[in-house]
Assembly symmetry: D2
Homo-oligomer: 210 residues x 4
Amino acid sequence: MSQAEVYSAAGFGRAVPRGSRPAILVVDFSYGFTDTRYPTAATMAAQIAATRRLTDLARSKNFPVIYTTIAFHAGELGLLPWLKKAPGMAALVKGTRLVEIDRATGVQPVDAIIEKKGASAFHGTGLAALLAGAGVDTLIVTGATTSGCVRASVVDAVQSGFHVLVPRDCCADRAQAPHDANLYDIAQKYGDVTDADDVHDWLIGLPSPD
Amino acid sequence: MSQAEVYSAAGFGRAVPRGSRPAILVVDFSYGFTDTRYPTAATMAAQIAATRRLTDLARSKNFPVIYTTIAFHAGELGLLPWLKKAPGMAALVKGTRLVEIDRATGVQPVDAIIEKKGASAFHGTGLAALLAGAGVDTLIVTGATTSGCVRASVVDAVQSGFHVLVPRDCCADRAQAPHDANLYDIAQKYGDVTDADDVHDWLIGLPSPD
Amino acid sequence: MSQAEVYSAAGFGRAVPRGSRPAILVVDFSYGFTDTRYPTAATMAAQIAATRRLTDLARSKNFPVIYTTIAFHAGELGLLPWLKKAPGMAALVKGTRLVEIDRATGVQPVDAIIEKKGASAFHGTGLAALLAGAGVDTLIVTGATTSGCVRASVVDAVQSGFHVLVPRDCCADRAQAPHDANLYDIAQKYGDVTDADDVHDWLIGLPSPD
Amino acid sequence: MSQAEVYSAAGFGRAVPRGSRPAILVVDFSYGFTDTRYPTAATMAAQIAATRRLTDLARSKNFPVIYTTIAFHAGELGLLPWLKKAPGMAALVKGTRLVEIDRATGVQPVDAIIEKKGASAFHGTGLAALLAGAGVDTLIVTGATTSGCVRASVVDAVQSGFHVLVPRDCCADRAQAPHDANLYDIAQKYGDVTDADDVHDWLIGLPSPD
């Protein structure tokens, strides 16, 4: 069998049901990842712009828009094993510009910002509770990087009970091969990989929550 | 810059410190994944044998050996979004042979078995508590599949506060490209990718816990 | 100020909004807690009957009914700190009668059963994901014991993003003083303490989910 | 049987093993709870002083000292069910004085500060990972309030795999009856209730970590 046949026989890659209560998760479009003066960043202006079109629309319809940022308290830096494997992340310290959400995203004061300590937007954060409290059923995941924090957040989103959509042109990475490989895994196992136009059209047609 | 230079500049890919209290996590070597009469399975006898050499050694030195299996209660099947995306997993029902740990692993009654509902061995399970209670500092992750449950478990392991080692010859997948792509991501961002001989030699030299 | 005035001034004790998508959580009505031949059990036939009236109704309207049971794998027993403080719980081993849900509850095959390793129905389990996947907004918590697993589950339920109702006549305990003290804390800080008649009338008036 | 006999027969109330790697958790000694100009606060200068004696000692021996504070992002306030039940907590907004740790605690820049969104220091936070990463085996829980955030944190601590000690004179509450009732539950089911002198003597005798 081909790889596609193997995956299909195993029951992967089916289309995700879309609910009626979406939220948009914008992963790590903070300056530490978006401003290439920092070594942890990459070029992602196009993906930020594509995401902003969706977040502006979602906010206008009263769907939650939630941003994440990696932000460490100084007292945590010496204790976390992740920072031994990926010490570049230790530059993301609370109170510095690196952890601020990039203004180009159009982030608003009404948007929740989730501070996280690892790759996933859910691990060790209140995000699942926030989504449950908001009655969300479908999570649109965007941001950076596809092969790191986006992938980890997508896996946790579906594990946490939410349908997942990933518009590929809203996801940025440092390199093309990991970007593509992770979108493949996501499309097979965790969420539907689509594009911003498709998500935009779907959001347009949804009624706002009461 | 090359991709390797980009990753290195971002502070990824450093060597993981190895502690003194390891445990071995064996992900989803259950018949549903190991016995190719089931469409969710793949060939992985070599990886099971390589893993067994490590688990036999670890057990003899009183280091914890922990197995996982995906196992759904019938009452959960209709409620979980993951089973819409990956409906093949819905065959893994409690009480069936598919959820039993493959005898070829050498699993023993003293080994804990974690039942999980998604990709990660940590998400919605008591694994992190079990490891903390056992005083574990370093988790060796093996099993199947590399691009699915192994990857998800590795990401959660380091996020949960444990150093992670992944012997590549103890990890199985349905296809080579996702296997390789995920080991690349792991090696850069989450844990050291090594082999069974290296892990074996390291375990041999460690003192047993009191 | 009186204690009541102190709590009111602190902004506690407000009424919980009731949503439209309830579920009933039945905590630990397993034989280990309900059958007084076991030292971990107490008399609770009346609370089981009062709960059954609600679960029968909920099931008939297609609202989820979820049971929990404490159930340890033999391989976990030596590793969990909770079993040092409360070693009586170590009798609750998978495969024994103690971990089975009491037939008097009217549990059905369609009902999910959550296996847990501690006091809370949420900690280290897939319950939050199950509720999110089912679109639940309000959790009715019943079971045993009020001062132990019910209290812990209530606290986690509201922390996980769900409104909480506790019918006091559906909650059992080994002693009256802890029962009363914990219902007081719950009523002030975590959920509305009411009775089975009130919950019954509310459920009757709710439309079934599509 | 008396209540004491019932609990003893059920296997509760045993002494907690003390490990060799403690940490101190100081729950919610932030101005919103310690400065009585705020309606959410209570008098707790004595408990702060008793806790400080322990934290100064622990820090001098290189044991982790971790503080928590409840701190909401403005974008979260409308979405969290807990703030409907306990709307007084909604005053605890990031950037305000209410969420700052009280200087009287002697908090130092090297100490980790955990921001939380509910009662428990563990729920939706990175605390369990931090403790695992630090190799902690025993958690000393202090702070405010005994019947709220201390109780919830103690339950989660033992569920997360740590032995728990609670020095009663380091725990503050708004009222005596809930303080006493919760220390009773803790002593029976979750951790040893002791006093600051006992913890001090134990810490003095422990070797510092390497």
